[in-house]
């Protein structure tokens, strides 16, 4: 049995190595690839991905998992080995339940759809994307059906990103949250508005970079295990527990954009850098879920990075980097400016008060499509109706509306809700940290994040994928994913900023 376990772990390590190799191919593709190398890079990625897939669904893996089952059944279910093999089994089941033909069809369809989506977005013509999306919806439904029985056809898609979380639960969470956020932005819209015009000045690229690095280091990033490069879209990726990389991009006329992106990606990276070293090269060296990953990014970016305490320490430093632009702007004005609420068309630019509403629109649409309640051709209408209902604005065109996100062209159904669940989790964790760590506000106001990071490492990061998201948050807070703390957080924060 010992030997079988060893063989299983060796095979899982090999798959892990291949995943990390693909990640490097992808990182380089977005960061340093010469333009003409794109086609060949796609071939390298396809080859590695084919080899990885073949190993992931191999009879070898299947029979090793079968062989070790009697052993696992005798283990303490909370032991690392039991959890490791449970997670490996879950991934194997997911990989093998979908027939190869469907996987291939899905890859081919989404590869073509991606270009169609780009063109449709550029030309502001949803009709160009429509037939591709129709096919994708059919394929996604077929994929979901491989996982019957389920309570809801959306469940298997959600489960890819949030193990154990069901559609019904997300429905309830969002139903609770939505009216509060809709009401909140209505109230805010009736208050005197915040002035952020001084952020429209020019802020030098190099100084923005340097300030971002300074903040990332203060958060706890160290460059012996990480690095930051530039890419068109910021992201975090990892090639091992000791090589987790982030990227950013800098706009000289949008000075906060790069900084918040660095904080966000540092949050992701600190999570991956915190996995228990003994989980190295196993399926446990991974996040509990996409929402948990997002919760870490949001915690550092929003809860810390957009807080009064943070800027109490860092605003004078930022002023010293940009005296011409900021010396006459008081700290409180700056704090209010970076927290300005404004319902807008684009999700990725949304503020904390409106962000989740963007997500909920997508969740409703994905469900309706999979349930067969609406057809793809009616998507722009549904989009615009929900935008009006939730955010009280209407897109001028589909490019800034239903066509704005890349996800659907890649068949990535089930992912959107994790953004909002991540926000919710970030505040559940935040409340618990403040309960456990005394004077946390003072520490942050002193630019000291050591205890905060330590708490996260001990209570979240080091577990990796050992627990499902609801298991982990319950273990930590006694409650499943729960939007109430987030509602309170929003109301407290914005009632102060907008004086209501």
């Amino acid at each position: 049995m010992e030997e079988k376990i060893t063989l299983l772990k060796q095979l899982l390590a090999k798959i892990d190595d291949l995943d990390h190799t693909s990640a490097l191919l992808g990182w380089d593709q977005q960061v340093y690839l010469p333009q003409a190398g794109a086609e060949e890079r796609a071939e390298l990625l396809a080859t590695i991905s084919e080899i990885t897939h073949n190993l992931s669904v191999s009879d070898e893996l299947g029979s090793l998992l079968r062989d070790v089952k009697p052993f696992v059944d005798q283990l303490d279910p909370d032991s690392d080995d039991a959890c490791l093999i449970k997670v490996a089994q879950r991934k194997f089941d997911k990989n093998t339940k979908i027939p190869v033909d469907l996987v291939v069809d899905f890859s081919r369809t989404t590869a073509i759809a991606h270009f169609a989506w780009q063109e449709a977005r550029e030309k502001n013509d949803f009709k160009l994307f429509e037939p591709h999306l129709e096919k994708i919806v059919e394929l996604v439904k077929s994929m979901a059906e491989c996982f019957k029985p389920y309570d809801h056809i959306y469940d298997p898609m959600l489960d890819m990103f949030e193990p154990g979380v069901k559609t019904q639960e997300v429905n309830e969470i969002f139903s609770q949250l939505r009216p509060h956020q809709v009401e909140l932005i209505k109230i805010i819209s009736q208050q005197p508005q915040v002035d952020d015009s001084f952020l429209g000045q020019k802020f030098s690229d190099q100084k923005q970079w340097d300030f971002g690095i300074l903040v990332a280091e203060k958060f706890g990033m160290t460059w012996d295990r990480s690095r930051q490069d530039r890419s068109v879209h910021p992201f975090t990726t990892s090639f091992g527990q000791n090589d987790v990389r982030i990227t950013t991009r800098i706009y000289e006329d949008l000075p906060m954009s790069a900084l918040f992106s660095t904080m966000h990606e540092a949050g992701h990276a600190l999570y991956e850098l915190g996995f228990d070293p003994k989980y190295r090269r196993t399926p446990l060296s991974s996040s509990a879920s996409s929402a948990f990953h997002e919760s870490q990014a949001r915690l550092w970016e929003n809860v810390i990075g957009r807080s009064k305490e943070f800027w109490h320490h860092f605003y004078p430093i930022l002023q010293s980097y940009f005296p011409a632009q900021l010396e006459n702007v008081p700290e409180l004005s700056f704090y209010k400016a970076i927290n300005k609420v404004e319902p807008s068309l684009i999700r990725v630019e949304a503020d904390e008060a409106t962000y989740n509403l963007h997500v909920m629109i997508r969740f409703e649409i994905e469900k309706s499509l999979m349930e067969g309640q609406i057809s793809v051709t009616h998507l722009p209408d549904m989009w615009n109706t929900l935008m009006k209902e939730y955010l009280n604005i209407t897109p001028l065109n589909d490019s800034d509306g239903v066509l704005q996100d890349v996800h659907w062209s890649g068949g990535m159904f089930g992912y959107f809700p994790t953004y909002a669940l991540g926000n919710i989790l970030s505040i559940q964790l935040w409340d618990k940290i403040n309960y456990d760590v005394s004077d946390l506000s003072d520490k942050i106001a002193g630019g000291d994040f050591v205890e905060l990071l330590g708490w996260l490492q001990k209570n979240v990061h080091h577990y990796g994928a050992k627990y499902e998201p609801n298991e982990l948050i319950q273990k930590l807070t006694g409650s499943r994913i729960n939007p109430i703390p987030y509602i309170n957080y929003l109301i407290n924060k914005y009632s102060d900023i907008y004086n209501f």
Copy 2:
């Protein structure tokens, strides 16, 4: 048969993709890897290399090669498909003739020996490396013996890098060349020496970088298919025909070092960028041999980059980059300074007049070790004796003597001679180019390399690995590898510089 050929090419393409993936892992390791990621990177490399090796020696590949043999035998032997399959068969034979146990033993031994060599070099203690090198020599001999029958036990090692070139031929080439180079440096030592003291000033890093980029672009490098980054040791690598990358390092007090390294690596890169696109993802998308690869690097670095004509155009530009350092240095003085001859201890710092002698010492030692003529323990003595005989200097210690190169710790026997053969080839090609292209000197003196590169692309680069090195040089010049042109080149060049 069609189908078998297709399957064979698909498998070869997959192996090519894996090789390029390893190359990216290696590039990133040397260029951007965070320090703590080293151990995990070694694991990724080992996994990809194991997968590649398994495919390269697989029964699948062996039987496809067997299956297509009757078809290949009917082809024009000069056709691409015939050459492609011949090269694939040659690689397969090399990979399969060495038993797996020996491959594994070799990997393990050299991995350990590398650290022993580093320590020995640091501590200037050959004895620390000696037992490791003894084992390596035994393993290298065992590997060579897998290729019996041969004329000389060194032949199979040489053949790894120079297909079809035999030890006896290299003996003859070097015997012809050596006395001329020994005599040349003796004569030079008796002439008034060249002053290069002005090169000891400080030359800014950024300006050195910019000038190197300018020259590389003039040579024909374009950044849509390439890029230059920094690494401790400069190198060229490729992840496809449209993604060939070079690296350099800059010393502010050694201003020519980075520039010549950029020219050298650009020469390597232009070769790889010039392979026929129809050879993409096949074994023909590779150099004819290591010496041919080196000939391209040396041609651009030395024959062009250290020529009067080149500097006639570029020296005023260089002066404009570094006015404080160079405005009072005449063009001719600069030209002489960068061609200063000085027998020195370290191969990689050697000038054109002495370089090959360093190589010949290593070649003699490798042969003697493999023949069993000397034992490893006597290596320092043999080294120092030959240094005295060829270069008339004696190392003060083994770190700057027998321990200076990394190659032997990696079991890389047979590679050194290719450096000198590359020099020789570069001048055979150069003479032929000048015969074919009228007014080439004038063009270079005008900073115009278009016809030179065009000639190389048409006559050398685009063939890739289709021909063996002697076949290719014979096809181009009517002669096999031949040192006479190189001897003439050296005498002409240095009699002018040193007035004899």
